[in-house]
Symmetry: C2
Subunit: 166 residues, 2 copies
Amino acid sequence: MALGKDYVKQECSLARALEVVGERWTLLIVRDALYGVRRFGHFQTHLDIPRAVLSARLQSLVDTGVLDKQGHDYVLTGTGRDLWPIVHSLARWGDRNFSDRGPCRLFVHIGCSEPIDAGGACPACGRVVPPEELEIHPGPGLDAARQDPVSVALRSPHRLLEPVPV
Amino acid sequence: MALGKDYVKQECSLARALEVVGERWTLLIVRDALYGVRRFGHFQTHLDIPRAVLSARLQSLVDTGVLDKQGHDYVLTGTGRDLWPIVHSLARWGDRNFSDRGPCRLFVHIGCSEPIDAGGACPACGRVVPPEELEIHPGPGLDAARQDPVSVALRSPHRLLEPVPV
DNA sequence: CTGTATCCTTAAAGATACTG
DNA sequence: CAGTATCTTTAAGGATACAG
């Protein structure tokens, strides 16, 4: 993010985190990765991001240890997967405050068949559920007349292996 | 953030949230506000941000309903206070993954005298504790030789009413 | 003290074409 | 398919001065 000399000195945890995931596009890339996207071209199709920018972001995420590059696949590390509750909470915050129709998508813990809460935890089992144990369903925030390409294309996020037409 | 035309169409909750708080500086400003900062000059001193940029960010946060301008004070709305667990989780993520000495600051629920967990909840009472009920203590991630100006200047974040020398 | 306005410099975004 | 390279435009950062 290049916040500049002063933030490093400030010894602020939040600033340090934002140096890693605070740049434009970065958290959207991480979200896609949490949904199971691994390939350059699939990120590109989904996000409609300039290739040069995507290249730089992926490189940076590899450098900081959020992604690991395995052949042509970018796969989340533990550090990266650890971002899931944050990504989820932020999306829910967006829903609560800037959507007049509620969430665009609903996440159901496959094991318990319960929708997870705003913090990403399953009310039934109490755990923060990682994305690979979730089913995605279209929510009321989506245009009802339109099918949701994401939730239609897959039930579990980790079946999102092909680029989905948006 | 001006992510561009496509994100709005994408009906993505996360993208919408990032349009509001995803720009550079914005989340740092929100964090300061959560710590009790309200005045233009205090944000400016703390963050060492150009006045023009700070002015634009504050205006934008007021426009989106994260802050409310009351006279010369910028005070968090419910929407803004609602960002606390997210800001806290992100900072903890930064600590866990990018600090070799642990968190820079520790947050203790005043009522229960218990440090809150990574999600911002108090282990004793189970609630997600809002910042005004927290005491800040310097953590091991801080340079031990240096006093932490934030935790020295105040015990509760909401006593951070004066600009603190950094 | 709280901003706005100006000017300059740098960096990032976007579009497009090209290579392994 | 997975990127690089180049070019243009736009936005942001930093310094400074000025007004309410």
